[in-house]
C-alpha cells in the first residue's frame, strides 16, 4: 500500500519507503537483532561507535556483518556523549568507519539519569558538524525554539523526544511536537519515548515524518513480533494522517440512515 501511495520519506535528498527507523541496541544477540530489523522493515538503522575490545574474541561477528551497509542506510549515533567535543569526535570516527558516509545522528546528553539532551552542547556540535560537511539528524528536546535553531544551523532532520530515552512513556507533549512540525521545513521525527505500537501510530497520525525507536522493540517480550507491530503502526498512522481524520463531535451521529426504520408509529 505504501508503494501505491508513492509517499517516500526524504532525508538529505535520499528517498526511503519505510518511515520507521530503528536502533540496534539491547538485543539478546546479533541474530535477534537481524530478525527484528528485518521484521521492522526499516531502511535506516542506527549503530553506536565504541572502542574495539582489544584481544578479546577476534572472531566475534561484527554488527555490520549482520546489518550490512549495502542493504541498510547505517546511521551512526553519538549516544553516550555528554560534550560537543566528544560528539564531534565520534562523528568523525564514524565517517571514517563508514568510508565517508556522512549521515549521522547527533545526540549530546545532559545526565545519566534522564539522558535528556544537553541542548547547549547539541547546538555547538551541530554547528561544527554541519560546517565539516556532515548531514546531521539531531536528537533534541521538544523545545520549539531549540528545534528552530537546529534547523537554521543546517540539520537535515529534527528529532524531538516523545519522552525520555528508554522510558516507553509515549508522546508526553504532543502540542510542542505540533509546533515544531508547523515551523520546520526539514523532516521532524519523534525519537525516543515510544513504548508500544499505538505510540508510534499517534506520532504518525500527528504528521511526524517518521519515528526512530530502539527499546520499544528490543525490550518487548517478543522483539521480532513487536518489530512487525511497529511496522504496521507506522504505516497505519501515516495512512490515517494522509486520509485526514473525521472531525471530533460533541454528540452522536448515527451511521445508519434513519429512514425506513421498523418501528411502531
Amino acid at each position: 500500500m505504501s508503494e501505491q501511495l508513492n509517499d517516500p520519506l526524504i532525508i538529505a535528498g535520499k528517498s526511503y519507503n519505510s518511515r520507521l527507523l530503528v536502533g540496534t541496541g539491547k538485543y539478546k544477540d546479533l541474530e535477534e537483532t537481524r530478525l527484528a530489523i528485518e521484521a521492522s522493515g526499516a531502511e535506516i538503522v542506527t549503530v553506536a561507535v565504541r572502542r574495539t575490545n582489544i584481544g578479546q574474541n577476534p572472531d566475534e561477528p561484527n554488527l555490520l556483518d549482520v546489518i550490512s551497509p549495502d542493504r541498510y542506510t547505517i546511521l551512526p549515533n553519538t549516544a553516550g556523549c555528554f560534550t560537543a567535543a566528544d560528539a564531534v569526535r565520534t562523528c568523525k570516527l564514524a565517517r571514517e568507519l563508514m568510508d565517508g558516509h556522512d549521515l549521522v545522528k547527533l545526540e549530546v546528553l545532559g545526565d545519566q539519569k534522564t539522558l535528556y539532551p544537553n541542548v547547549v552542547d547539541t547546538l555547538k556540535a551541530a554547528e561544527e558538524l554541519v560546517k565539516d560537511g556532515f548531514k546531521v539528524m539531531v536528537y533534541t528536546s521538544d523545545d520549539p525554539i531549540v528545534a528552530k535553531q537546529l534547523e537554521e544551523i543546517g540539520c537535515v532532520a529534527i528529532m524531538p523526544l516523545g519522552s525520555m530515552i528508554g522510558s516507553g512513556l509515549g508522546i508526553l507533549n504532543p502540542h510542542n511536537i505540533n509546533i515544531i512540525m508547523e515551523e520546520a521545513k526539514v523532516p521532524v521525527l519523534v525519537d525516543a519515548g515510544v513504548g508500544t505500537a499505538s505510540d508510534a501510530a499517534v506520532a504518525m497520525e500527528m504528521g511526524c515524518e517518521a519515528v526512530l525507536m530502539n527499546t520499544a522493540i528490543a525490550a518487548a517480550r517478543d522483539p521480532i513480533l513487536m518489530a512487525s507491530a511497529m511496522r504496521k503502526a507506522i504505516e497505519a498512522g501515516r495512512e490515517a494522517y494522509l486520509a485526514g481524520r473525521m472531525p471530533r463531535k460533541k454528540y452522536a451521529s448515527a451511521s445508519s440512515p434513519l429512514d425506513g426504520i421498523i418501528a411502531a408509529k
Binding site: 542506527t46 574495539t52 582489544i54 584481544g55 551512526p76 549515533n77 549516544a79 571514517e96 525516543a192
Partner: protein, 66 residues
Amino acid sequence: MQIELNGDQMQVAEGLTLSGLITQMGLTGKRIAIELNLEIIPRSQHETTLLQESDKVEIVHAIGGG
C-alpha cells in the same frame, strides 16, 4: 616504546606502523576506524603512519546502539 591504546598502556616495538598495530591486535580486515592523538588517520594512511613514543591511539568499531 610505550603507547596508549584505547585507554590502556602498552609496549610496542620501535618503528611500528598503524597497519602493524592492526595486525598485531588481530584486527586485519575488520571494519574499524583509527584516531591517533585526536586526529583521524584514514585507512589509506595506516601503512605509512609510524607510531611514536606516548602516542594515544583509539580503535573503534560499530556496535548495537539506539
